[in-house]
């Protein structure tokens, strides 16, 4: 169905691609968002969110096993016909394009807010576009290698969060389950968004070399993400008082501001610059999915042109309408509403459909 020759990804690349997409700018605001809803019990919500996202990722694998040699686009055209597939591809391309655009601008907004407050927003987008273009025009294997490199290059940053932990007040976490389960459940709605990104499995699956370990792969990817979120959130909860944490917009960065060595101050600027790599592992694969779907609609292998135009349109758009942090947050909320359908509801429905379809087919052939 599709040519995977020379584009295959290993299990490690598969895991870290998913994990890379999941870990994005969300981690900067996650402790606050969770604390607003569930207080210091928010870490339970993170674990519950992990369960939900893992189940959905496993469902996606189950679906993809039906058509192991194609992406979701090929699968849709098998089940819903050529035009069904095309319509699906348009929706998916638009979804990923919107998702990418929001993440891309959000990344630039955080850079502007914390590192380069005097640089014009459109310049940041142009500067970010260049490496993004160079990466995303390649095939999925290159993206996989990039994610692996970035992961091992930046994994140490998470341990820096353990430094402020010695000043932390563990009493803040007690008692566990302060106000009952209701607020915790409410916060799960926030935390499941932070696991978004596993839906790229829809595209990654056919490229995976050892398909039998796909399920283990998604579980590991989700677990890695969960641990990263859990460390950051628990450090934030012990470090800040539960009464004050909601006052900081990006508590994750504020924690880093406190770390100071004899030879370096304002470590958050250094670390945040480093974190750009991590953010790029979110944006680049998402962008790739969007332009891949676009070129699939037109039946082309090459996706450089749609990528080029996507970036140009983004630059032109932010030139005329530079988004503010508030607009970006509204857009992010829209993406999240959409993704409830795409990443959580859609796999469940499709899984049921595919299974019922399979049952009928079985009967007919009998």
């Amino acid at each position: 169905m599709i040519n995977v020759e020379g584009k295959q990804i290993s299990l490690m690349q598969f895991i870290l691609l998913i994990h890379g997409v999941q870990m994005g700018v969300g981690i900067l605001t996650l402790p606050r968002e969770v604390a607003e809803k569930a207080g210091t019990d928010g870490w339970i919500s993170i674990i519950l969110g992990w369960i939900i996202s893992t189940v959905c990722s496993l469902l996606i694998i189950q679906i993809m096993q039906k058509q192991p040699n194609g992406t979701i686009l090929d699968l849709l055209s098998v089940y819903f016909g050529k035009w069904g597939g095309k319509i699906g591809a348009v929706i998916i391309a638009l979804y990923f394009a919107f998702f990418t655009f929001v993440m891309f601008t959000r990344e630039a907004l955080f850079i502007q807010a914390w590192i380069l407050p005097r640089t014009k927003f459109v310049f940041l987008i142009i500067l970010l576009s260049i490496p993004t273009y160079l990466l995303a025009r390649n095939n999925i294997q290159i993206l996989g290698r990039y994610s692996v490199t970035v992961f091992f290059m930046t994994i140490w940053t998470i341990f820096l969060f353990l430094i402020p932990m010695k000043e932390g007040q563990f009493l803040n976490l007690l008692p566990v389950i302060k106000e009952g389960w209701l607020p915790i459940m409410r916060a799960v709605k926030t935390t499941i968004f932070s696991y978004l990104g596993f839906e790229i499995v829809f595209f990654l699956y056919p490229f995976l070399q050892k398909k039998q370990s796909a399920s283990i792969g998604v579980v590991i990817a989700n677990t890695l993400t969960m641990f990263a979120y859990l460390i950051v959130t628990i450090v934030a909860f012990t470090f800040f008082s539960p009464d004050e944490i909601a006052k900081y917009n990006e508590p994750t960065i504020t924690i880093l501001k406190v770390i100071e060595f004899q030879f370096i101050e304002r470590l958050e600027v250094v670390l945040f610059s480093f974190y750009l790599f991590v953010m790029s592992t979110t944006v680049v694969p998402l962008m790739f999915m969007s332009v891949y779907s676009t070129s699939w609609i037109f039946g082309k292998e090459e996706h450089t042109k749609p990528l080029f135009w996507f970036l140009v349109i983004s630059i032109v758009y932010v030139f005329w309408f530079p988004p503010s942090m508030n607009i970006s947050t509204t857009l992010k909320k829209m993406v999240q509403e959409l993704s409830i359908f795409f990443a959580y509801a859609f796999p469940v429905c499709l899984w049921i459909y595919v299974h019922i379809h399979g049952l009928f087919k079985g009967r007919v052939s009998k």
Binding site: I130, L171, N172, E244, V258, R266, T304
Partner: protein, 376 residues
């Protein structure tokens, strides 16, 4: 496509040029190291800033200015107009607050920009000045050291020896918003010399209530910072009542090697009950008591324990009378008696003032020194 791509490559180089506009050589900046805020006699806010001079030939090491203004940002206008360089607030090390400010409630929002603006460091030490801020900020240390270094090391040293609290902007923010804790700050005063006089206690609206002297601060910090141990050098002197002559003060000093504090929280008869167990291991450093060190170890231990217990009782009574909670006992109430705490959290000081607090001190004398006694 290839050619277009090459054109693309030029853009970063062009963009790099734009950053040259904002280059700031060190000589041309005025880096504020100390920021002071005070009220004058007519209750106008006065802002002080002190910055080092990097010019080699300059006579003075620091430049200090002050102005009347509404806010920190507002004062910047004036500072910009009198200093030669661009004023930068990114490296403020010490924030001096006049005691007169703290005598009013809700002064905290003045500091808004220091938290809002990501340029500011939130590790700035916050220090209360007894008297006028101008006395301190215009003070020239006799050792010719930079005032900021001097202030910083005085506070850090005293904090290390658990004699005063060291509070950064970030910690101040925490203690301000945390309902089960009231802020406490290091307190300095300038008489002939600049000195640390103890720990200033504020109530939950930020109003100044009292200052603990160095002895009391030590006792407070023993309970508050459970993690700060072992304390390498803290001596407590215990004067006893019967003084015989000029030299026989019956004093006893020791260093505390290790402190362990256990705080138990319970709720009985509509009030909170705390059992605070403090166990210390100490080394005796000085003893003018008429006691035989070897045979009367138990007696010495008892004397010290009783002494400390009464001092703790006085300290806690003081805290309860002021309806404040510098120790953070509210955190324990929240952690272990959440439902009861939740009802009173907005009036925690009130609730704590009615609480029963029992302190017991357990001493472990691990060293007596090199001699038995100095009596004849």
């Amino acid at each position: 496509m290839k050619r277009r791509f090459r054109l693309f490559l030029f853009i970063p180089f062009l963009l790099l040029l734009t950053s040259c506009n904002y280059q700031v050589p060190l000589e041309d900046t005025t880096i504020t190291f100390i920021l002071g805020i005070d009220l004058d006699d007519d209750d106008n806010l006065i802002f002080y800033e002190s910055s080092p001079v990097f010019n080699k030939g300059a006579k003075a090491q620091t430049e200090t200015y002050h102005t009347k203004a509404d806010t920190i940002r507002d004062s910047r206008k004036y500072f910009d107009s009198v200093t030669s360089g661009e004023v930068s607030g990114a490296k403020i090390q010490v924030l001096l607050l006049g005691k007169r400010i703290l005598e009013h409630e809700d002064w905290f929002p003045i500091l808004d920009t220091m938290y809002r603006n990501s340029n500011f460091s939130i590790n700035t030490r916050v220090v209360v000045v007894d008297g006028k801020v101008s006395d301190v900020i215009y003070y020239e240390p006799p050792s010719n050291a930079q005032l900021v270094m001097y202030l910083k090391s005085v506070i850090d040293k005293n904090y290390k020896r658990t004699r005063t609290e060291k509070v950064t902007l970030e910690e101040l923010h925490t203690s301000f918003y945390e309902k089960g804790l009231t802020p406490s700050l290091s307190h300095v005063k300038k008489d002939k010399k600049l000195k640390v006089i103890g720990t200033a206690l504020l109530n939950n609206r930020g109003k100044y209530v009292d200052t603990l002297d160095l002895r009391e601060s030590t006792l407070l910090l023993f309970i508050k910072h459970k993690k700060k141990h072992p304390i390498s050098y803290t001596s407590i002197t215990i004067p006893t009542k019967n003084e015989r002559g000029i030299f026989h003060k019956d004093d006893l000093s020791f260093t505390v090697q290790n402190v362990k504090t256990k705080i138990k929280t319970s709720y009985e008869l509509n009030k909170f009950k705390y059992d605070i167990d403090i166990s210390m291991s100490v080394v005796i450093l000085e003893s003018l008591l008429t006691i035989d060190m070897k045979s009367d170890e138990k007696k010495i231990r008892r004397i010290i324990e009783e002494r400390l217990e009464t001092e703790y009782k006085d300290l806690l009574k003081k805290i309860q009378d002021y309806k404040i909670d510098p120790i953070g006992l509210g955190l324990y109430a929240r952690a272990y008696q959440y439902n009861h705490y939740k009802k009173v959290e907005d009036n925690w000081g009130e609730a704590l003032s009615e609480a029963d607090i029992n302190v017991s001190v357990k001493l472990d004398i691990i060293g007596m020194g090199a001699i038995n006694d100095t009596r004849r």
